[in-house]
Amino acid sequence: MNNIALGRYLPLDSVIHRMDPRAKIGAMLLLMIAIFIPAGYTGYMVIGVAVVLAALLAKLKFSFLWRSMKPMLFMLVFLLIINILIVKEGFVILQIGSFAVYSEAIMQTLYIVIRLMLMIMITTILTATTKPLDLTLGIEDLLKPFQVIHVPSHEIAMIISLALRFIPTLIEETQRIMKAQASRGVDMEEGSLKEKVMGILSLIVPLFVSAFQRADELANAMEARGYIPNKKRTRYKQLKMAGKDYILLLISVCILAFMISIQLDILPFTVDWI
C-alpha cells in the first residue's frame, strides 16, 4: 500500500516543479483532449515525445512512471482477452485449433493501451511535481471565472484538499481495521463466498462509521475556527504565471492543434504511414 506511485508528490527541485499549478493543469487538460482525438500513431508519437521530455525535465525516474502504470496491467490483460474474442478483422496471426487470433485485435488493444499509458503518465507527472495543496489552489483559480454561473470554486477546492488530506488517514484506518478483523478470524484469502462477503462487510461498516465521525469532528473544528462557506477569504499564497508557464501552455496548444489538423487532414504534408 505504501508503494503506490499514482498520485504521489515527489519533492524534487526541477523546472516543472517550479511551474505555476494553473499552467500545469491547463497543459494537462489540453493534452488530454489531444489524446482523445483519434489521430493515429503519428499524433501519439508527438505526445509521447513531449511527455518523455517533460518527465526528464521533472527529474522523474522511469521506474516511478512505470510503477504508476502497474495497476493498469490487469485492465490491459482483460482488454486483450475481450478483443481477441470479439475482433475478427485483419489477418490471422495465430491459429489454435478452430480458434484464430486476428491482427486487428492486437492493434486495437495496443491503441487503447498507448492512450491509457499517455494519460496516466501525464497525470502522474502533474501530481508528482505539484504539491496537493498547490494543485487545489490552481483548481480554485481556474474555476474562478465560473463563479458567474454560480460554480462554488472555493468550496470545490476545499473539498478536494480535504479529500486529499484524508486519503492517507483512510488507508491507515483500513489497514488497522483489516488487522483487527483478521484477529477475529476473518480470512479474505480462503473461506467460502459467504465468509468473504461478511469479511468485506466487517471492513466497510466500521470504515464508514469512523469516516462519518471524522467528518463531523472536522466540521466542528472548522466552524470553531470561524470557517464560513461562501464568505470571501484572503489567501496567503499567491500564484504567479511566469515565462516558462506560458511556454508550457503554448507547446500544449501547438500539440493539440497538430492533432486536430491531422484528424481533419489539413496538413500540407502527409503523415499517413500506418
Binding site: A180, A182, S183, R184, G185, S202, I204, S210
Partner: protein, 286 residues
C-alpha cells in the same frame, strides 16, 4: 513457555527509502498464566511487538514461539487460524471494529469465524457479555447506540468469546474514566485468575502495573530495555528515573520517606507494608 521471542527484529517498509526499524533484536519470554505489562513511550514499538503474537506481522528477522507454533519471516504458521483463535488480540480503541446490527451478533462474529456452531456461539456470547458487565437487556441493541466505554466492553467481549488461551490487549484503558478503567483491569485479572488465561497488557498507567500485573516488559526505541517482576521493577528507582516514568503513589511516598532519612527497604511496593515499616522505624527512634 507459551511465548518466546528469539532475536526478533521488525523493519517496516524494508528495502525502501522509508524503511524503519521498529523492533531491534528482541529476546523475551512470557510465562504461562502470568499477567504481563508492556510499557514504553509512544512510538517505542509496543503495538508492533504485540501484533507478532498472532502473526498479523511477521518478524523481518528471528523467530517466535507462540503456544505450540513457530512464527518466522518466511511463512505464516501452518495453522494460522488456530493461532488467531488461541491468541486473542484486542487492538487499541477496539470499539471501531464493531459492525453488526446487534451486540449479540457482533460478539458471535469471532467464534463463528473459528467454526463454533451458532447456538453455542450465542450461549458463549451471553455469558461473556454478562462477565463484561452487560446484561441480557443489551443483547438485541445496536452496538452503535452505546457509550464509548460500553462499546469497548462489547469489542473486548467479542475477543473473549473466542475463548483464547492468551489474551493480548493494546492500551485497553486509554480514554476511559478511572472507574471504568479499574473495572476493565479487574475483568482482565478475573480472566487470568478464574479462566487461567495468560494476559499481556500494553499500558501507560503505572498504578495499574503495580496493582494488577506480575511481570513488566519495558520497550524503548524498539529495544527491550528490561523484563522482570513488578516488585523488582518498582524497587529499581534509578531505572524508573532513567525511563522518566512517573511512579505510582506508594512508590513516590516510599522514595520521599527514604530521602527524608527513613531506613525503609526499597523493595516495598505495598502500602500496608510501607505503613508498618514507617511505624517500626518511628518506634525504633523513640
Amino acid at each position: 513457555m507459551p511465548i518466546a521471542f528469539k532475536d526478533v527484529s521488525h523493519i517496516y517498509n524494508a528495502d525502501s527509502p522509508f524503511s524503519y526499524v521498529a523492533l531491534d533484536h528482541i529476546d523475551l519470554e512470557i510465562a504461562e498464566g502470568s499477567i504481563t505489562a508492556i510499557i514504553g513511550e509512544t512510538g517505542s514499538g509496543k503495538s508492533t511487538l504485540v501484533q507478532h503474537l498472532n502473526a498479523l506481522l511477521l518478524p523481518t528477522q528471528g523467530e517466535l514461539q507462540v503456544l505450540d507454533q513457530c512464527i518466522d519471516s518466511k511463512q505464516k504458521p501452518k495453522n494460522l487460524k488456530q493461532l488467531r483463535k488461541n491468541v486473542g488480540l484486542v487492538f487499541q480503541f477496539p470499539e471501531y471494529q464493531l459492525f453488526e446490527e446487534t451486540i449479540i451478533k457482533d460478539v458471535c462474529f469471532g467464534p463463528k469465524n473459528f467454526g463454533v456452531q451458532e447456538e453455542e456461539a450465542i450461549q458463549r456470547a451471553k455469558e461473556i457479555l454478562k462477565v463484561c458487565g452487560l446484561d441480557d437487556s443489551y443483547l438485541e441493541k445496536s452496538p452503535f447506540d452505546l457509550s464509548g466505554g460500553q462499546k469497548r466492553r462489547v469489542a473486548i467481549a467479542g475477543i473473549l468469546a473466542m475463548d483464547p488461551s492468551v489474551l493480548v490487549l493494546d492500551e485497553p484503558t486509554a480514554g476511559l474514566d478511572p472507574q471504568g478503567a479499574k473495572e476493565m483491569m479487574e475483568l482482565f485479572v478475573q480472566m487470568n485468575r478464574v479462566y487461567h488465561k495468560t494476559v499481556l497488557i500494553v499500558t501507560h498507567d503505572m498504578e495499574h502495573v503495580l496493582s494488577y500485573c506480575d511481570q513488566v516488559v519495558v520497550i524503548r526505541d524498539g529495544h527491550m530495555e528490561r523484563a522482570c517482576g513488578v516488585k523488582e521493577f518498582f524497587s529499581d528507582i534509578r531505572l524508573l528515573r532513567e525511563l522518566r516514568i512517573n511512579p505510582p503513589a506508594v512508590i513516590q511516598l516510599r522514595e520521599r520517606l527514604r530521602s527524608e532519612g527513613f531506613a525503609i527497604d526499597p523493595s516495598i511496593i505495598d502500602i500496608k507494608q510501607l505503613a508498618e515499616a514507617v511505624a517500626s522505624e518511628v518506634k525504633h527512634h523513640e
